[in-house]
Amino acid sequence: MPELPDLNPVVHGKLRLALLTLLMGVDEAEFTWLREKTGASDGNLGAQLLKLEEAGYVSVEKKFVQRKPQSLYRMTETGRVALSEYVAALKQLLGNAAI
């Protein structure tokens, strides 16, 4: 019987997974757009984005637009690979669970 893959714990977090999936389909996204799409609180969203940033899965660019701070998040190539591997592992696990 083939060995079952482990799920990446950084990607597996519900909000982190949602954020990576959202970022996968866009060039870059503002903090406010990510908050609107996920419905998360500012504190929780900031903390999860920081974890993704520390893991090297997203990069952030902070700047001022019309004197207002703006945080732009982008998915990195490492993040793209991590998400792809996570989805493949998830499908394998669900396949083995005979859904």
Binding site: L4, K14, L17
Partner: protein, 209 residues
């Protein structure tokens, strides 16, 4: 591990979350159908102006009809798009970029071909209509295939039929084919797309992840 129902449910929940977030991300590309109607109206204005149906001192310059209407509509579309994007703070998606590339390339091709054709005097009205409808057919087909949208691909077929009809028919028949294609593929299809967009926006709520 995986054998328990609780774990299976959690894994399925993650898969559903991925699917819903992908759909949520795509939603940002879907506020563009008003441009279809806008360009349909622009085509009608250009045809009316160039054929002398519109009166008045400005409308008398028939040779300016197509360049002025097309450039004006392009600027209006670009300005409104920028305003809508900055208002909603919606990011550019991969699909959105692909769509924009198709229609920008089509617009540049049209200008690059039609302007020299007009200035050189090579090509009559039927050839003009055939070129315009053929290019619109190409762009609609590419968009329809990208979005997997049969209705838009059907529009491409209508444009291609109008293109062929324009070359085989008389000047009047060519004009009628063009007017009918504009009505079906710009006005009717545009309104249909706007209705779908509005329905989609109503159906979408906040996603709590």
């Amino acid at each position: 591990m995986v054998g328990t129902n609780a774990n299976d449910l959690e894994l399925k929940e993650r898969l559903e979350l991925i699917e819903s977030m992908l759909a949520e991300g795509r939603r940002t590309t879907k506020r563009w159908s008003w441009t279809i109607v806008l360009w349909g109206v622009a085509f009608y204005v250009a045809i009316g102006w160039s054929s002398g149906m519109l009166g008045g001192p400005i409308w008398g310059q028939h040779y300016m009809a197509w360049p002025v209407t097309m450039i004006g509509t392009w600027l209006l579309t670009w300005g409104l798009f920028r305003r809508m994007r900055s208002g909603a703070k919606a990011p550019m998606t991969t699909v959105g970029r692909a769509m924009m590339s198709i229609w920008t390339a089509m617009g540049i091709s049209m200008f690059a071909l039609l302007l020299p054709m007009g200035l050189s005097g090579r090509g009559d009205q039927q050839v003009y209509v055939a070129v315009v409808t053929s290019l619109l057919g190409t762009a609609n087909a590419a968009s329809g295939l990208l979005l997997k949208w049969k209705a838009q691909f059907a529009c491409a077929v209508v444009w291609w039929l109008a293109s062929a009809a324009s070359l085989f028919g008389t000047v009047t028949q060519s004009t009628i084919a063009f007017l009918v294609a504009i009505f079906l593929c710009q006005i009717v299809f545009g309104i249909y797309a706007m209705v779908l967009e509005a329905r989609d926006r109503r159906a979408s709520g906040a996603v709590h992840a």
